[in-house]
């Protein structure tokens, strides 16, 4: 039963990633693209977690944690750059 749920999850998250790519390509402003990249990383975290359930290992959780941290830091850096013209003042 978990296998069918995982297949549904893979399909749904892949469709979500395609929609995020559309927003990344078509977004009219810079902030739209920043939101799209942030959502892409969150979706990839979910995909990594589901793959960890699929192969029955706990090896991939640290990479998911690292991706969460990098997503937050890069989004905040992009917003600071758009706001102030500099990342660290």
């Amino acid at each position: 039963m978990i296998d069918y749920a995982l297949i549904f999850g893979f399909v749904a998250i892949s469709a979500a990633l395609m929609m995020n790519l559309w927003r990344l390509a078509a977004g009219p402003t810079v902030m739209d693209r920043v939101v799209a990249v942030d959502t892409i990383v969150v979706n990839i975290i979910a995909l990594i977690i589901l793959y960890g359930i699929w192969v029955q290992t706990t090896l991939y959780f640290e990479s998911a944690l690292l991706l969460a941290m990098f997503s937050f830091i890069s989004t905040v850096a992009c917003c600071r750059f758009v706001l102030r013209g500099d990342v660290i003042e």
Binding site: M1, I2, Y4, A5, L6, F8, G9, A12, I13, A15, A16, L17, M19, N20, W22, R23, T29, V30, M31, D32, V34, V35, A36, D38, T39, V42, N43, I45, A46, I49, L50, G52, I53, Q56, T58, F61, E62, A64, L65, A68, M69, S71, F72, T75, V76, C79, R80, V82, L83
Partner: protein, 133 residues
């Protein structure tokens, strides 16, 4: 594995993936950026939380121990999603929106705190003393 636990894990995975798809659909469907922020910052965070709860239950059923990584990831994501949304909204306000014409004036003496500060108000009052008296 216990079939009820298996059903619970499958339910969490399906709900999480559904909410992730809904949040990303909102990202391409809504008309402007302030509406578009709702999808990723609420629905997608809930979806990732569902997937992480499923993974935590799966590890607990498989190895008989509670893993510490999934609560850490959930805590971190739920902590950083509002901060990210706030930063994006603030950058959007400062780059795309004119505060004089497109935003309502808040009640009270001072305007929007992200556009004008109390110190600016005090300086302008010092420079023009006839205006406040």
């Amino acid at each position: 594995m216990n079939p009820y636990l298996e059903l619970l894990i499958a339910f969490n995975i399906v709900v999480g993936a559904f909410f992730i798809a809904v949040g990303s659909y909102g990202l391409i469907k809504f008309p402007d950026l302030m509406s578009r922020l709702h999808g990723p910052s609420k629905a997608t965070t809930l979806g990732v939380g569902g997937c992480l709860v499923a993974s935590m239950l799966h590890v607990a059923a498989l190895e008989g121990r509670l893993s510490i990584q999934e609560p850490l990831i959930t805590f971190f994501l739920f902590l950083t999603a509002p901060v990210t949304a706030h930063f994006v909204a603030k950058a959007h306000l400062h780059t795309q929106v004119d505060p004089e014409t497109e935003l309502p004036r808040p009640p009270g003496r001072y305007g929007w705190s992200t556009f004008e500060s109390v110190e600016d108000e005090a300086e302008s009052a010092e420079n023009q003393p006839a205006k406040i008296s």
